[in-house]
């Protein structure tokens, strides 16, 4: 019998479930862990597993969190960039099979001063007055454009540019398009062309120099021209006000209840009937509240300078709650940099590892309470135009581009008038005296964004690129033109 013992033990051991090492989880914040209070940043999550691993990783920053499911086969690894709001400490919860639930605190360095990122292969030090310099290596650069909000200005050299992977390059191009301040030191001609072609704000925020000193000088000079402030929700408050769809329904339901109850009181004295009416009405109303689906609303507001090749947009995807429950808002895939509009609002973003993007935002909602997701990004545009004052109060608006414009609206001096569709090279002569008071919230918002003593052109846009846009979504493109009315 003893002779059989060793082979049996070996057989038992070989048939036991394979217990590999615990999954390895590595967290790497972008920008070497630097950010600024109230800004967005990014944390790269890398998971390596020797055995099949399932679970989830959650990164919480204040009231907001991002949760990514993990589903790995043996030997696979997962790398994921999770967008997070900056905080002094990120709470990371790792809940994977084969390992005990783990909580980690990931510290971030928050700077009150503007941050100057120095991504220089030479490792040279440099500074700009008032900025806090942060030395960076290529791996520190994020893969999401939203994370560039952490860095106020960035200096890169050609070697660093060459070391960036496609994801990082895409985010850098997106940052340039969003009028981010970037200084390139002796860039390759091709890289410069790509970035300059994509840069927003007429590429005024993108500078280069043959040496670090020259690039820094130009970057300092560019600080004299502030980037145009994107419109805030308060600028467009009238346009963004959620439709009170639940309010009339509640009014109707309660009026119906009081009517039925009054009839019951008038026609019966049965205590059972009198008590049953409000009980049934309460149950019916509770069921009704949970069966109503909130109606989402999407407003996209884009602005571009005349002749700019890129327009910057802000989008608000909002809906009013209809009951006290968890409300899952699908993140629109066609729009970039999704986040909760209210940073104090508790929200959980579900990140899809396959797409490396948030797919759902979950809010705790209540009746009448609006919840909103904000997006920001850019898209190519062609609205090359000139506005020339003529005699009297007349103006000539000319399409100087190579593409025709649809009909829009012309805003000047606090009034609005129709602008006809214009083919390339065509012009329209308008009289300021024909302007009328704004008739809708969009033109009122556009007038508020029109330069003082200047003009603006407003077009309604088709949201073809946002396939999952809700019905009734609206989008606008405003081109403000400085000038003398």
């Amino acid at each position: 019998m003893r002779g059989l013992g060793v082979p049996l033990l070996a057989l038992a051991l070989s048939s036991a479930p394979h217990v590999g090492a615990a999954p390895q989880v590595e967290l790497t914040p972008a920008w070497a862990g630097w950010s600024r209070p109230g800004r967005a940043t990014e944390v790269a999550v890398q998971v390596r597993a020797d055995a099949t691993t399932r679970g989830a990783i959650e990164i919480a920053s204040g009231a907001q969190s991002a949760r990514a499911p993990v589903n790995l086969a043996a030997g696979e690894s997962l790398r994921l960039e999770v967008p997070v709001a900056s905080a002094e400490s990120l709470e990371v919860t790792i809940d994977l099979d084969g390992a005990p639930r783990e909580s980690r605190a990931q510290a971030l360095s928050l700077s009150e001063s503007p941050l100057l990122g120095l991504a220089l292969a030479s490792g040279e030090a440099a500074r700009i007055e008032g900025f806090h310099s942060v030395p960076l290596v290529p791996a520190d650069l994020p893969r999401g454009t939203a994370a560039y909000a952490s860095m106020d200005a960035l200096v890169l050299d050609a070697a660093t540019l060459r070391a960036l992977d496609p994801g990082q390059l895409g985010a850098l191009i997106g940052h340039a398009a969003a009028c981010g301040r970037i200084a390139l030191v002796a860039p390759d001609a091709g890289a410069w062309r790509v970035l300059e072609g994509a840069a927003g704000c007429g590429a005024r925020m993108l500078v280069s120099g043959d040496t670090l000193d020259a690039a820094l000088r130009r970057l300092e000079d560019s600080l004299a021209s502030p980037a145009a402030a994107p419109p805030s929700a308060s600028d467009l408050a009238a346009l963004l006000r959620p439709e009170p769809t639940a309010w009339p329904r509640i009014v109707a339901a309660l009026v119906a209840f009081f009517g039925i109850a009054a009839l019951a009181v008038a026609f019966t004295a049965s205590p059972a009937v009198l008590l049953l009416v409000p009980l049934l009405a309460s149950a019916f109303l509770a069921a009704l509240l949970h069966s109503w689906e909130p109606r989402p609303r999407l407003v996209v507001w884009a602005e571009a300078e005349p002749s700019a090749r890129v327009a910057q947009y802000q989008a608000w995807h909002s809906m009013s709650g209809v009951a006290r429950r968890r409300l899952d808002v699908p993140v629109l895939a066609g729009l970039a940099a999704p986040r909760a509009c209210d940073r104090q609002r508790a929200v959980q973003l579900a990140v899809d590892p396959a797409r490396a993007q948030p797919v759902t935002a979950s809010f705790d909602s209540r009746l009448f309470e609006p919840v909103a997701l904000c997006y920001s990004g850019h898209f190519p545009v062609m609205r090359a135009l000139s506005v020339t004052p003529l005699d009297g109060d007349r103006l000539e608006v000319r399409n100087q581009g190579t593409l025709a414009w649809p009909a829009g609206q012309f805003l000047a001096g606090g009034s609005v008038q129709e602008l006809p569709a214009l083919n390339p090279g065509a012009s329209a002569t308008l009289s300021l005296a024909d302007g009328q008071a704004p008739r809708d919230d969009a033109t009122r918002a556009a007038l508020a964004r029109t330069p003082y003593d200047g003009y603006a052109l407003l077009w309604s846009l088709q949201l073809d690129a946002v396939a999952d846009a809700p019905a009734g979504a609206v989008a606008w493109l405003l081109v403000p033109v400085a000038g003398q009315t």
Binding site: W247, A261, A264, P278, L285, A286
Partner: protein
Amino acid sequence: MSDSRPGRLGMVLGLTVAAAGATWWLGATQLALRQSLGTAALAAALLAGLWVTRAMLLAPFALRAGAIGGWRHGISSSLAIVVAGWPVVVAAASAAAPAVMGIVLGEVALLVAAVALPAVGHGLRALLRSPGSAALAGTVLGGALSAALWIWGTVWISVNG
């Protein structure tokens, strides 16, 4: 007082309180929505107001109804005061921030009072052996309870803001 009157009167009182509260709440909510202001505080105020008003009505009404009409009729009319506001409570609870459990416990407390107070009124009638005296005693006792509730509510609000 006929058999049917207490139940109807309780229902009418409950519906009146609920309709007044709902009208104020829906009007204030509409104004808040137009100005993009929060509505949760309005719903919480409605819930608190509805609870206090029903509790203050319940004390004299239930004691008096129990003393005059007996325990069974007292219960049915007192319950009507409480449950007539429930559809409004359900809607306001959906819009308010306080925990649902607290709201439910508040309603349960009202239900317990709606069952217990008529029994006390009935006991007063048995004790005093006169429906008139019992009704008077019930009304006085209920008024005192309502006043105590009002004072307690005022103190609670001044302490808790």
